[in-house]
Symmetry: C2
């Protein structure tokens, strides 16, 4: 029995009209996608050529030359196509579609007779295909291109790329599996797993789900495939080219069978993609034990290893998780892509369990630790998303040398910008889900949508000024169904009204359940008061003891030196809080800043580093916090802090 109890409304049936997200979607449409197109076509002056499209031309025999870029360069083309597909879903564009069609034609020309498609191996090492699943990203690229194929098919109805990828996946299916003579392998960088679930749903072909199940269940079993593979390669490492004794199995979560993994370890993006595939596979196959494994890992991430912004991956070493409650704010990695992978994971958990434990985290992610990766100009990007920055330390201290205090432009290894593009353009697919008799509203994003109920199409819309304001209005279309509205965990209270009359429905796992026979013209309003809150951390989270983060609704705030001077750790906020919201559109339309006062040490006039204390002499100073996602958008980025002393 499938565990998926509800399905998200498809992107094509949701239209976002939202003060906050429409602007982000415009940025994705008008900045990221066109910029990325020029990037993969080597048209950005001063930036090292990507060669991503050129590689396909070389593989297709249309151009002479070698392979350029990273071994996973093909995935940049895939991510662009996937973002284009979503963009076409929400806003058709004939010319863009033609461009995409031409790229797909090129990909078809590059594909080999037997279905093989990976331009690195085709151009550089044609005799080494499938010999280094651990390091060489063949299956990772196949996963991204499969996601693009499904998205493009769903957006346009065109199945050319889908057919291409089915042929490649069929080849992979002939090469990898439990049977003797096949490789008992799986992706070094998980991604194909979740793509196979999507391919299964798009095509109805069960063997894609079976291949996914094989890869997920074989992972981490003994003898370790990646160790055997290394031995077969005479211990030759791809990266660096030297001799490698052992594989760091934890790095890519292949150290244990997934059902025995209790803690998130290793490279955070790999983990997020793997867990997403695990949750999806469990939902589709009804494998309750596997779902429990996903749940265990979800809980570990969310209750032990996730920053208040939703960022994950607390260390630069391996861009990885470290261990429970170890969440340093300054030396964190917090890769944008890793936060996005948690968005995917949350969505898959919600399909089986409509529970605000998942949707609250989803909301935390989309308003904070994901979009913090992009400047408000849509042209500069962070890989790392720290919660405390001291600009000097990013230049002079090894511990934070991976941190940037200003977002640079497009990167050579360009994973995060296109990942943001596909998250933002596909966001419509995260707002609503429907079961047989219930329509869930997971996110409060102004939108119009429609869903099928007993063979009829029902419309629903919501509007408001979220996340700056908690007054929300819903227009449920006519029909007999339960409208389920998430009551966020951050809301201390709420008021629900149906056609003006206050109601007090039951909460089910954090959702207010409003059963009814709705009529056109009905109005439901939800009021979520949004006072400025001090959010605190579990005392076991050593880095945040004695500190609070300012939050309001789903938005996490930060203090920047531009508003508050240097040495932000010398500030201390006090109770009762006098922070008030203040609308300030200078950075972003409708943005709400928080203004109030704090205490600052002012009694230190000498040059000495230490002295005997005679108690504190503090001055009350005005301070100002802005949404964390918008930090680093002004010239002065000397210091930033989310957690301030109390």
């Amino acid at each position: 029995m499938r565990l998926a109890s509800n399905e998200f409304l498809p992107l094509g049936s949701v239209k976002i009209k939202d003060g906050f997200w429409s602007r982000y979607q415009d940025i994705a449409k008008n900045k990221i996608i066109p910029y990325q197109w020029r990037a993969i076509n080597d048209q950005i002056p001063g930036v090292e050529p990507s060669r991503a499209i050129a590689n396909f031309r070389v593989a297709a025999g249309l151009e002479e030359g070698g392979f350029g870029g990273m071994v996973f360069q093909d995935s940049d083309v895939a991510k662009w196509l996937e973002a284009v597909a979503y963009r076409l879903s929400i806003d058709p564009d004939e010319e863009l579609e033609k461009t995409a069609d031409a790229v797909i034609d090129l990909i078809g020309q590059a594909q080999e007779e037997d279905g093989y498609l990976d331009t690195y191996f085709q151009i550089e090492e044609p005799d080494k295909k499938f010999t280094n699943l651990n390091e060489c990203h063949e299956l990772y690229c196949a996963g991204h291109m499969t996601e693009a194929a499904v998205a493009y098919y769903e957006a346009t109805g065109k199945d050319k790329l889908l057919s291409i990828m089915r042929r490649f996946v069929d080849l992979i299916d002939r090469k990898i599996g439990p049977e003797e003579g096949k490789l008992h392998g799986y992706p070094g960088h998980p991604e194909l797993e979740l793509a196979l679930c999507r391919l299964y749903r798009a095509t109805g072909e069960k063997r894609y789900l079976d291949l996914c199940a094989y890869m997920i269940n074989a992972r981490g079993t003994k003898p370790y495939f990646f160790e055997e593979e290394l031995e077969k390669r005479d211990h030759r490492a791809f990266w660096g080219g030297g001799r490698q004794e052992h594989v760091d199995l934890k790095y890519n979560q292949s150290h244990l069978p997934i059902r025995e993994q209790k803690e998130a370890v290793g490279h955070a993006v790999r983990a997020g993609y793997l867990y997403t595939g695990v949750a999806d596979l469990a939902a589709e196959t009804g494998d309750a034990e596997l779902m429990q494994a996903a749940e265990t890992l979800w809980n570990n991430v969310v209750n032990r290893q996730m920053y208040v912004t939703g960022a994950v991956g607390s260390q630069v070493w391996g861009e990885a998780f470290s261990f429970d409650y170890h969440l340093p704010n300054d030396s964190v990695y917090g890769e944008t892509c890793a936060a996005i992978s948690m968005v995917f994971f949350a969505r898959q958990m919600l399909r089986s369990h409509p529970d605000r434990r998942y949707s609250d985290v989803l909301e935390r992610l989309i308003y904070n630790g994901t979009i913090s990766g992009m400047a408000l100009d849509g042209e500069h990007f962070f890989y790392t998303n720290p919660l405390a920055v001291w600009e000097t330390a990013t230049r002079h201290a090894g511990v934070t040398r991976h941190i940037r205090s200003k977002r640079p432009g497009w990167f050579g290894c360009a994973c995060c910008p296109p990942n943001l593009a596909r998250m933002i353009t596909s966001l419509g697919g995260y707002i609503y889900s429907a079961s047989a008799d219930t329509l869930y509203v997971h996110l409060y994003i102004g939108s119009e949508a429609s869903f099928e109920l007993d063979g009829k199409t029902v419309a629903i819309s919501q509007s408001g000024n979220y996340p700056w304001d908690g007054e929300l209005t819903f227009k449920p279309g006519a029909g007999r169904y339960t409208l389920a509205l998430r009551i966020p965990g951050w809301a201390r209270s709420y008021v629900l009204r149906i056609n003006g009359r206050e109601v007090h429905p039951a909460l089910e796992k954090g959702y207010a359940m409003l059963p009814g026979t709705w009529e056109d013209g009905d109005t439901v309003t939800l009021t979520l008061p949004m006072p400025v809150e001090f959010t605190e951390a579990n005392p076991l989270l050593r880095a945040d003891d004695g500190r609070v983060a300012l939050t309001r609704g789903p938005v996490v705030y930060c203090f920047e030196s531009a508003d508050n001077g240097d040495a932000l750790d010398a500030l201390r906020v006090v109770r009762p809080s006098d922070f008030e919201p203040e609308t300030d559109p200078s950075l972003f339309p409708g943005m709400t800043a928080l203004t109030g006062t704090a205490k600052r040490r002012t009694d230190w006039t000498g040059d000495e580093l230490y002295r005997l204390s005679d108690g504190d002499d503090e001055k009350t100073v005005p301070v100002r916090a802005i949404p964390y996602a918008f930090w680093g958008n002004r010239d002065d980025t000397r210091e930033m802090a989310v957690w301030v002393r109390k």
Copy 2:
């Protein structure tokens, strides 16, 4: 005119009789020196052979074989000989002296005709001598062996090793210098500079001081010697063997002429040894500008880059300084040898300026960040000396993977234990200094000493139970001179009595000046009240904002999980402080622990990582702090913290 205004009493005329330091000297005599002897002779089972003595036998033609150990392995023999020399100064031992004489004979046999002496190059690369001053430690080893030679000569009157090293230094003098045809070079790892000053004082030969002056003044001038040297080697790197494009000049302080250096940068031990040589050279030559350079660097280290324990080197990258006010407590390097190098630097500054600015730091160093490197059993050692430890993080987080929470045994690269041995055995040479008419007491270490005044020998003694108690008694021998007693910067008040009568002398740079015609039997007492203090840091030192360190007298305290449970950051100390000293000899005879209460968060019962705050619910809990130097001497070393929240 020399700047050195006072000279430390030589080791041979000071006898330490002190509850605290006599025990450390016993450990050095009975544990470190014998253990190191076995280590350099490859007699420690289970430890990789040092080969240090064997290398000399091979170089001398007494044994077949290759070179073993690090390129600077010779320095281990030098440090052992130097420690033995000090040990013989304070406590003669005929058998040990015979053993040392035999080693010196062996060194003489290994020396080449022209004076050359470095077993790595003699055995492995005889044609590469003086071609890689930057990386290969030839001059560094020469420096250590020269220090040993001077110390052995001063301890025993035997000049064989001194002659050996004079021949080698004479060779270096012929190879290096400003003249055409000579190398315009200097040590990659400073050390020879300070040794040349000692050699100059021991021999009276001015050319040793001139060679030191050349090396110090040439350092960092353009064209950069190490860059030119690299080019001559066709960019071949010694470490790793690959091609090296550029030299990291800041790493070894060769990026600027020393007179233009305003901030301590690079490898902290290199810096400390260099600055010591600079201060010594300036004192001997009367070069006021050079002394100003030393003063500038001293101030930068002490007022911007030194931990409250005296540790320096805030990062593992390059075991180096990072930048002003960047002193993370957990990811610090704080190498034991670096703290010891600051002891040397302080001593040289004191020779020109009797000022408690230097001696307070000297005291901070010897009671805290140096001896923390050694377990109380004398057999286990830390390289790194963190101020906050979370044992799990030392295993699972890259940022603290260089940190140990328990002291391991002797290391392959054994720099710190013998450095501690020579500091501890030579400590008598740091207590007193004399100018023409003044005897300075810099450290309060129970001892008997004698000094020359107008051709007569005057005795002086001091006794007390320092650092646990501030009642000190001095017995100045007969004569007309000023007794200058340091009033520590940590003392809020003090009482001085001469033969029981309270006196109120003038303070000169922190020293109470007691001029007088002393008579045998006179007694001076100094009472330094030692309440438990909260020490606080400059607000610009971000890592310590909102925190205090408990101190009492010169001793910095720490909290360990063995006494206070886990999550030490969840503790908060409050004013007024109820901490009281408590004698607890379980770890160390006479040790004073501090007991009191703190607040601990106890209101968090859920599993969640974050929540909206409703204010704190704290419980008062008993807590206990022990001297920082003694941390990590019990089985349970899960967590330790010097700076606690207030």
